[in-house]
Subunit: 449 residues, 2 copies
């Protein structure tokens, strides 16, 4: 099936306008000044994790690659920029031929990160790199925020599957990306059909209170659902009285009933009661799915309850209190002339506002202790110490403008699970704390850029 | 210019998959049970405002109308649903002919709302209405959350313009909708070119630290920008030393310099110093734009500072602590048979979990006091009291499937400003408090549905 044929907006033909106005005016000024072609290195990093979080999760890398590939200024976009006089004709001509021709390295998707980790490194001319700032940050900041929340929820849920149900709580396309990021973070499935369509994530559904209310009585509703969907379906049992609903559900579907869903009330108490009732009715294999404003803490509090799956909505798609990842895209080195062989010089903002950055093109490696557990995020400029050479984190994603880093979404999901398992145990504590790994800086000679 | 020609994803050809899996399985079960055609009324409302907020702001209505109009199951979408066996063939046949043919009434965009306000009322067969739940909630929950934050920021900013700069902090298409919602809430412009393109919102841009760092010195950077963009440009003055940068800026551009931007440090203190310095340098008309993690509180704290405009990013696009509006879409009345003339019967969930709803198709009106200031949100079923007849809030948006409620975005923006001005003064207090209007319920006879 060709997704482009459907015209569905989750397929993105051009990403060039997901760009802040000033990227284009900076381009215009640099073109005129003769500085636009200076070789430059931009890095994406975050100065801190959200308050109390132990680690961040890189997500959206695959979407960044799509965005870079589709970043083109076609006639319609150029017409808009001309009509609104956003940039001059010389700049429009330059944009018409735009195609990113540089290199991108980055942490692979699903990897964890810490303050200062060089999550993405974009290298090319200033002109071609500066334009990508906004769309790269949009994707990484959103998707990584969701994946971090998902990862905590997945830790809390243990072996029980998590269902992403948050589409109605966020922008309709943000929801599709959130399902994707949640899958990377450890969720098993989604309610969002667009996410199933676009990313092949398994979709699942139960039933809403409206379906019960549509019918003359709960029994009619359950019968209608079972007759259509089969006994393996999930019946929603909290529209009126839960105990009565569970009894009716098993009468209608028999002990082969797939699952019941509880969406309100004291979930811990109700789950225990429903489990007991189901067992007494002989429905020992009927599963219990709980939903209702769950977050990682609520999930953890249900660890001892007889719950088989969790449906999570609002708190997942809003990053469980941290809906953005605060990553920035900073120029860290640039050539002193437009000569492609001119050496790179580290640069950094030096103002008093606490927004300083570390200049220079960076590598990163994760040092392990004797037991093979991660013990430090090492970030450096200059040569990589020999003992860290095979622990490097950055991988090649784009080479001379060609995408070389694509991978199936399951690879990112598996990488995240493995990476999280290799962190110190305190990483999966839900309580607030410091980043679970310290970031150590190793400064090389600036001449070694 | 035809936006569809650009293939830009902000133009949405089909919205049918922005739908939760269970909407389709409920449809299948209802079709089989013969209940799918029962006339039904769904309402969108919220049970509470975000903690401490005084009012909500309806935003996204125009996007909802686009979504309803484009909600079609074409061959590609149907192929996906068939291949994944999400619904049976009879349901696929029904979906192939789907076109919403019912009625939608709602609060006009920009209007304020309170707990229980029937923000949107969707009426038609159960089958055609239930499918719209997810996409309607996605749009209204996201856009209204942003507009509410924008409205508070606009109150705090008074006559000073607000620039929306949050694209990099949220999903790339969420950002476009956020710019639109911010404009409704009172923002003047956006940095997001896609929002300018799609919704004709004015776009503006300044310059980034990277531009200064690209050049051999700050003077070179300022000169490059002024030579390309003219003296009216905005120079970023906090890359190195602010005092030195302001001096250099005026030397390069002359006292005609348009504006300087300060993006870090103690903005109150720095703004005062920069204003004094600019005045001493004769640049009395040079404006000061501040950015740097502003929210409504930071904006208010700068009321006495010599600031001319605010750029707001993260806190705007994340709803200033409340990124979603917690609206729900509930069946409140339905016919007892598929007969199109069968009377409607109010319905409501009645479980113990605190998620009860008020059944019945509702009207809403805002009662004014003697001075013409709003004093209560009155929500009722049955006949509208005569004294409230001309204060009704719901307007017709879709009639028999035809969109009748489209309006220019500026109409929503102006409506919001006027509506907010008609609320009690405490509405614009930033401190936490109760909703500024109480919601009163007037219950008509249930037979009067």
């Amino acid at each position: 099936m060709n997704t482009a044929d459907l015209g569905l907006p989750v397929d993105v033909p051009s990403t060039a306008l997901f760009t802040d106005h000033y990227e284009l005016t900076m381009l215009q000024a640099a073109l005129k000044a003769g500085t636009a072609e200076r070789r430059s290195v931009f890095e994406v990093f975050t100065r801190r994790l959200p308050n109390g979080r132990r680690y961040g999760v890189v997500a959206g890398t695959g979407r960044v690659l799509d965005a870079v590939e589709n970043f083109r200024f076609d006639a319609g976009v150029l017409g808009f920029l001309r009509e609104r006089r956003i940039v001059d004709d010389a700049t429009l001509d330059w944009l018409a031929g735009y195609r990113f021709s540089g290199d991108i390295w980055g942490y692979p998707e699903g990897e964890v990160y810490f303050p200062g980790s060089p999550i993405l490194r974009v290298e090319g001319s200033f002109a071609e790199c500066v334009l990508l700032e906004t769309v790269i940050l949009s994707i990484l900041n959103h998707d990584s925020a969701i994946a971090a929340a998902a990862s905590r929820m997945a830790s809390a849920a243990g072996d029980r599957p998590l269902i992403e149900m948050g589409a109605r709580r966020t922008h309709e396309l943000s929801a599709v990306a959130a399902s994707r990021a949640a899958y990377v973070g450890g969720f098993a499935s989604t309610s969002d059909l667009a996410a199933g369509f676009r990313y092949n994530i398994p979709t699942v559904g139960t039933s809403a209170h409206a379906f019960t209310l549509l019918h003359d009585c709960e029994r009619d509703a359950f019968r209608a659902q079972v007759e259509s969907m089969g006994r393996g379906t999930t019946l929603l049992v909290d529209t009126y009285d839960v105990t009565e609903a569970v009894r009716t559900a098993v009468e209608v579907a028999g002990p082969e009933l797939g699952a019941v869903r509880i969406d309100s009330g004291d979930l811990l108490l109700v789950a225990h009661r429903v489990r007991q009732q189901l067992d007494e009715l002989g429905a020992r294999d009927t599963r219990i799915i709980v939903t209702s404003d769950l977050d990682e803490y609520a999930i953890a509090s249900l660890a001892a309850a007889p719950v088989d799956a969790y449906g999570v909505g609002t708190q997942l798609v809003t990053g469980s209190g941290h809906p953005t990842a605060s990553m920035v895209y900073k120029l860290v080195a640039r050539a002193e002339s437009a000569d492609p062989k001119a050496p790179l010089k580290p640069v950094a903002k030096k103002s008093s506002g606490g927004k300083t950055s570390v200049g220079g093109r960076k590598w990163a490696a994760r040092r392990l202790d004797e037991d093979g557990v991660a013990e430090a995020e090492v970030v450096g400029t200059g040569p990589v110490p020999a003992e860290l050479a095979d622990r490097q984190l950055l991988v090649e994603l784009v080479k001379g403008g060609e995408i070389v880093g694509r991978e199936p979404l399951d690879a990112a999901r598996e990488r995240h699970a493995a990476t999280r398992a290799g962190l110190p145990l305190s990483a999966i504590q839900l309580s607030r704390g410091e980043p679970v790994l310290p970031t150590e800086y190793v400064h090389g000679r600036s001449g070694s850029q």
